[in-house]
């Protein structure tokens, strides 16, 4: 009856109790959502099931038999496979080679590529996973790579599939493709566990949901028609959260604060940004929709001075900036605040204290420093005030930022930018990997900044976020802006189609036909 039973699982890390007496019962042939915020212990629990960690105590039962899973090989033997958030694929090899890796079909002791391709194609057809077995993995889109990962699991005869945040990197179309595949897998008797913090997906896809909070199981319920997002959110966070952001149009003239005119960035003889013109206006949030890798990073880098333009111009408050003089420093000094898309990379120095990070980029300014000498008292006082104002949960501003949770790290960055009273805010993926509670807070702060007359550019892979916050949306595809309208004129489907290269005309036609 149950494919997986986990009884009384406790996992103690050095100072952290990641799982505490967790009970998980996954029925055979169901899609089971393991829902929880970051750090709730979902991944730890699944890593225990997959043999990556040994539980401190507790018992795992697979297909009715008590087992000890020492390592992933044992897990695979038991028919358990895991699709990680970061794919474990070998890029220069073909799809078929990746899928059969470790279990290669052989002919006279040598690798039999032909048979591998055949087997992979058969398997792919069986479950409706469209891939070209001979294509190299490095040429594939993220969604296709994920399909390769699933194929890999199926090839290893997995009956129990664990997917870690499978939709985090997918477009809406890819998400619905994935869901179709997962339902098909369920039909054929596979058991699927998805680790997620997305409420909508849980409701849409799962048969059962187990909610984890702070390492403990809060509830395990069948997903019913009556269940709604607010209810799940409350279980997940432990309090009532508002999922809507209050937003009224800002009255008055919205003057252009920052603009790009025909911006081009060429890399390897290819225009990664191709003739981009856009205007970021005071009191407005301009959203940029697009699948990652279509020029977002370059757009952010151009606006923050990290990337030189190959052509076109950056205009700030009516003045065209001299192309050779644009540096990250000059942009910061001109009042362009930057919330980086990858906070671990561009956002903060993990080993620095909160205080040191809160002034990063503004560290030369008075009163933080004078004549090259740091004024630690002034800096720490400022940092303490900002950290409190932006609700950073910490023991002291002398803690390293690396020791904070994702949401609190993001609040440090947001506090840093907002406290400098910027004119323009380039907010890239401001809530990526952040808890619901922090998302709610960050959204509120962004809208506050807009209401205060700041010009905001919002780049996000999360369509809900874009549509909820933006006043206008521009769609970026293959380095170009392919469409732009008021946010209210878009729905998720249209945006999704535009993001994946459908022209506005064809999208309109499709919508009319439907």
């Amino acid at each position: 009856m149950y494919a997986v039973e986990m009884h009384g699982i406790t996992k103690q890390f050095k100072n952290v109790l990641a799982n505490s007496n967790v009970e998980l019962m996954v029925k055979r042939g169901e899609i089971h959502s393991l829902l929880g915020e970051n750090g709730a212990g979902k991944s730890t629990l699944m890593n225990i099931l997959y043999g990556m960690y040994a539980p401190t105590s507790g018992q795992v039962v697979v297909q009715g038999k008590p087992v000890v899973i020492e390592n992933p090989l044992k897990a695979i033997e038991l028919g358990i496979a895991m699709v990680h958030q970061h794919f474990m694929l070998i890029e220069p090899l073909t799809v078929a080679e990746n899928v059969v890796l470790g279990y290669e079909p052989k002919k006279h002791g040598c690798f039999d590529m032909k048979k591998a391709v055949e087997e992979v194609n058969t398997l792919a057809d069986q479950y409706g996973l469209h891939v070209d077995a001979r294509q190299k993995v490095e040429e594939l889109s993220v969604g296709t790579k994920q399909r390769v990962e699933i194929l890999k699991a199926l090839y290893r005869k997995a009956d129990i599939l664990i997917l870690d945040e499978p939709t985090a990197v997918l477009t809406p179309q890819e998400v619905s493709d994935l869901f179709r595949v997962l339902r098909k897998l369920r039909e054929s008797g596979k058991t699927i566990i998805i680790i997620t913090h997305k409420l909508k997906e849980t409701l849409e896809l799962a048969d059962t949901v187990t909610v984890l909070r702070k390492g403990q199981v809060i509830a395990s319920l069948p997903v019913t028609e009556q269940m709604d997002q607010a209810q799940l959110a409350e279980l997940m966070v432990g309090r009532i959260v508002s999922l809507e952001t209050e937003k009224q149009p800002v009255p008055g003239e919205h003057e252009v604060v920052m603009a790009l005119r025909g911006a081009v960035v060429t890399r390897d003889k290819r225009n990664v940004l191709d003739d981009i013109s856009l205007e970021i206006r005071a009191g407005e949030i301009l959203g940029i929709a697009g699948v990652e890798g279509n020029g977002q990073t370059e757009l952010i880098d151009v606006l923050t001075g990290l990337q030189r333009l190959s052509g076109g111009a950056v205009v700030l408050q009516g003045k065209q900036l001299p192309a050779g003089r644009i540096t990250p420093r000059s942009m910061l000094a001109a009042g362009v605040g930057h919330i980086p898309e990858d906070r671990g990379k561009r956002g903060f120095v993990g080993g620095f204290t909160i205080a040191e990070n809160i002034v990063l980029g503004y560290h030369r300014n008075q009163p933080f420093a004078r004549h090259g000498l740091i004024n630690r008292k002034a800096r720490d006082e400022f940092a303490d005030r900002v950290a409190r104002q932006y609700d950073v949960r910490m023991d002291s501003i002398q803690d390293t930022v690396g020791s904070l949770s994702g949401g609190n790290q993001q609040k440090v960055i947001i506090g840093r930018v907002f406290a400098q009273d910027p004119k323009v805010i380039i907010a890239a993926q401001p809530t990526r990997g952040v808890d619901i509670g922090a998302i709610e807070y960050i959204h509120g702060e962004l809208v506050k900044m807009r209401d205060a007359g700041k010009a905001v550019l919002l780049i996000s892979a999360d369509l809900d976020e874009l549509m909820r916050l933006s006043d206008k949306i521009a769609v970026l595809y293959d380095g170009r802006i392919v469409d732009r309208r008021d946010a209210s004129e878009y729905d998720e489907r249209t945006l999704g189609a535009l993001m994946t290269g459908h022209t506005p005309d064809s999208v309109e036609k499709e919508v009319k036909q439907a």
Partner: protein, 359 residues
Amino acid sequence: MTQQKRISLEKLTQNTTFLSAIALILSLLVSGVVMMIAGYSPIEGYSAMFTGAFGSVDNLAQTLGTATPLIFAGLAMAFAARGGMFNIGIEGQIIAGAFPAALVGAYLQGLPWFVHIPLCFLAGMIGGGLWAMLAGFLKNKLRVSEVILTIMLNYVAQYLAEYLANYQFKAEGMLVRTETIQPSAALPALIPYSRLTTGIFVALAFAVFVWWFLSRTTPGYQMRAIAQNPYAAEAGGVNIARMNLLTMFLSGALAGMGGAVEVMGVHGYFIVNMTSGYGFDGVAIAVMGNNTPLGTVISALIFGALRAGSTSMNRMTSIPGEFIQVLQALVILFVSTPGIVRAMLRKRNFKKNDQKKGA
């Protein structure tokens, strides 16, 4: 009880000072075993070494005097590392500092000591600094790793100085060396006829300066940011290429000071092969000192003792002084692979627990 013990042990192995100490002890033990295998008595060897390093005032002076250039070399390495650069060219930068310092010391005449000595220091710092900065410049221009550049520049510095000391600036006599410096440029010895000079105070002052610079100035802050996360530093408006040049210059200046102090205190002139591997010891010293100024000073003193001790071990026993190099290599190995130390400690702990269970 055992739970608590294990946690405290784990905490200890996170502590870099503790790790460095254990690494040193382990290296001493393993070198002792090597000595035994080679047919020598480690007890005899180590006691000779200990006497040689601390046995008398003169021996102690030898230890501290040897530590002086090592402090500079270690600081140079540590400073570069804290700024995200791997400066393996300290040997060359010591030469690039020693040579101009020797020339300024020899050819400027009639200056009072309080002008002449700082001028020699300045020459040493500029020489070492520019030599290191050359590597930084080439790194920025050609996008070549500074590791390769600094290593190769070691040879250039070595042979260039040797050439100059052989021809243009050769002093009279058999030795390949420059003219002797003026008395006004000489650092006075603290113990007569020893290597220990006022240079050690200069070295300690520079250690304090390095600490102050890294923790209290904006360039120091920017350097540390680059070392830890260059992407975030760049987004924070830090000009990485320019800061790398500054890091290399200051690191080289520290190395150059080491060369100047050695010229002005010990030799009185530039002579070929005077560096005798100080630059490379600097790497080990900084690693063992966890790249902090205080740690670097302490490990430089330890290395000074080892060097001084090995000389007398060489003299008093049949054990070759080269064992010191085995020891140093082991220190680097153990410090840079804390995993080994942790694994060894854990094993011991397990064994203890087993014994308890058995009893």
